[in-house]
């Protein structure tokens, strides 16, 4: 059978990809517009980027978002890896169904529900234990909860294809399970850990709804600042800010993709070598 893709299908594919990319490309193009009128092209300029550097509100929000992102993705990688190990390696255990459900639900749960319920929890906890105060801490806690789901999915699929006999061999040679995991399994899943860290970071950096609910006064993340600016109307300095964020996130995702691809290729090569 010929493996050619029918032209109609390729056409739909091209249209779909165009729909996904045109708005972003137009946004980036307009960020270099010298005119402050959004619909008039006034020549090439980087003035809007220059203005951002002097915008304290934006800079402070960006700093907070990056701090939250680093803390949340680190926490999520730890919890997500533990979850993946439990689900792939431990077979049946009490609470397995509960864990699977809780790790998958955030992938589809509307953010507004997660945000509202978590805020109510934090408020009740504050009443009972005088902790946590709304702000950095609560945003990180909430982000870890939903990023863990994405980390688990990524690490799970890597762990599934990892050769278990290597770990068994290490243990037969006298390594403790923890040693065997650190020396043998961890290097195998390391690329998945790195790429899921990067993806968690982009998710955290992007979150508006959950952060808006759980953050406290004075703690505005970058998406919260952008949302309040966008609500007031399209403005050229948001175009510049948005372009910067899109490029930074794009670089993170491309890097994460390359890491995964390289490790996958190496795995296939090793497999071929082993078969020979």
């Amino acid at each position: 059978m010929d493996n050619r893709v029918p032209p109609l299908l390729s056409g739909v594919l091209c249209v779909g990809i165009a729909i996904l990319y045109i708005p972003i490309l137009v946004l980036i193009a307009y960020s270099f517009n010298a005119s402050s009128l959004v619909n008039v092209w006034g020549g090439f300029s980087t003035a809007w980027y220059g203005q951002l550097i002097h915008n304290r509100q934006v800079l402070e929000a960006a700093l907070l978002s990056v701090e939250v992102g680093i803390a949340a993705s680190t926490g999520a990688v730890v919890l997500g890896t533990l979850t993946a190990i439990a689900l792939i390696r431990f077979g049946r255990f009490p609470g397995r169904l509960l864990l699977t459900g809780m790790v998958n639900a955030p992938l589809v749960m509307p953010e507004i529900i997660t945000g509202i319920t978590q805020l109510l929890l934090f408020v009740s906890m504050l009443q009972l234990f005088s902790w946590p105060h709304r702000g950095f801490t609560t945003i990180v806690i909430a982000h870890v909860a939903f990023c863990t789901a994405y980390v688990t999915v990524t690490v799970q699929s890597r762990l599934q294809t990892a050769d278990r006999s290597l770990e068994d061999a290490a243990m037969d040679l006298g390594a403790s399970p923890a040693r065997a995991f650190i020396d043998v399994t961890l290097p195998i899943i390391a690329p998945a850990l790195l790429s899921s860290w990067l993806l968690s970071f982009t998710l955290s950096l992007d979150d508006l709804v959950i952060s808006s609910f759980v953050s406290g006064p004075g703690a505005g993340t970058l998406p919260m600042v952008i949302y309040s600016k966008v609500k007031l109307g399209v403005s050229p300095d948001i175009n510049a800010l948005a372009s910067l964020i899109i490029c930074a996130v794009g670089a993170c995702v491309i890097f994460a993709g390359l890491v995964m691809r390289r490790s996958e290729r190496r795995r296939l090569l090793e497999l071929q070598a082993a078969e020979r």
Partner: protein, 296 residues
Amino acid sequence: MKRIDRPGRWLIILPPLLYLLIFFLIPFAVALKISFAETAPRVPPFTDILSFTPDHHLKLSLSFGNYKYLVTDEVYGIAYLYSLRTAFFSTLICLALGYPMAYAISRASKSAQSILLFIIILPFWTSFLLRVYALEGIIRDNGLLNNALLYLGLIKQPLHIMRTSVAVYLGIIYSYLPFMVLPLFATLEKLDHTLREAAADLGSPPWSVFREITLPLSMPGVIAGSMLVFIPAVGEFVIPSLLGGPNNLMIGRVLWDEFFGNHDWPVASAVAIAFLVLLVGPIALYQYYNVRQLEA
């Protein structure tokens, strides 16, 4: 063969289990509790449903007023229905557009496949809020779409898309298309090509090969993709808030306003709980197919 001993396992299972229990599951119980409280002018702005009477008896006072309010005030019913309808039709359009895309990718060569998939995944990770904002630049009255159509002479007056249902639909389709393509591709790729070839060799025309073999076998992907679009779309806040008009009242927006505008936390909790009850069916369906696909 030595395996991690049973007590040791709990060191690995317990941290994520407890974390998600406390910070993901218990919050729903807290919301359920508060949905039975009444608003009060204090911090936090609601009454306790458990209190001690002067003679030290524990008293439980549940108020069903919030739920009664949901039924009697027609805003909530309208918002629920509008959200369901919008999410349903957006999902159908995503499916109609996403299925051929996923199918085309699954038929491409291996090297083209990984590049195409990456092209689809990249916007999926790129800031959701900023993509919605970028779409506004295309569809507003003096945006790219209207300018292009005016230039081509296809229209005389700019189309008013912003602040209408059409803008909300476009926003959802644009934002959620990758969620549809990825699971569809995952099932289509695993499909046994020999079945299709066998049917074609036995004389089936391409359309009936598709209808009899490809489509039924790709149903898990269709359902997973549809649920991944439908469930978050029902609760969408950013899209109706930025692209929709005052008439495009989706439940996510009502919740947001109830919370930040009216500061009525008990009613907001009741809206959230009622909303969740509505979503239990679709979420269970998604989980069922998800688990089946993982085990396959």
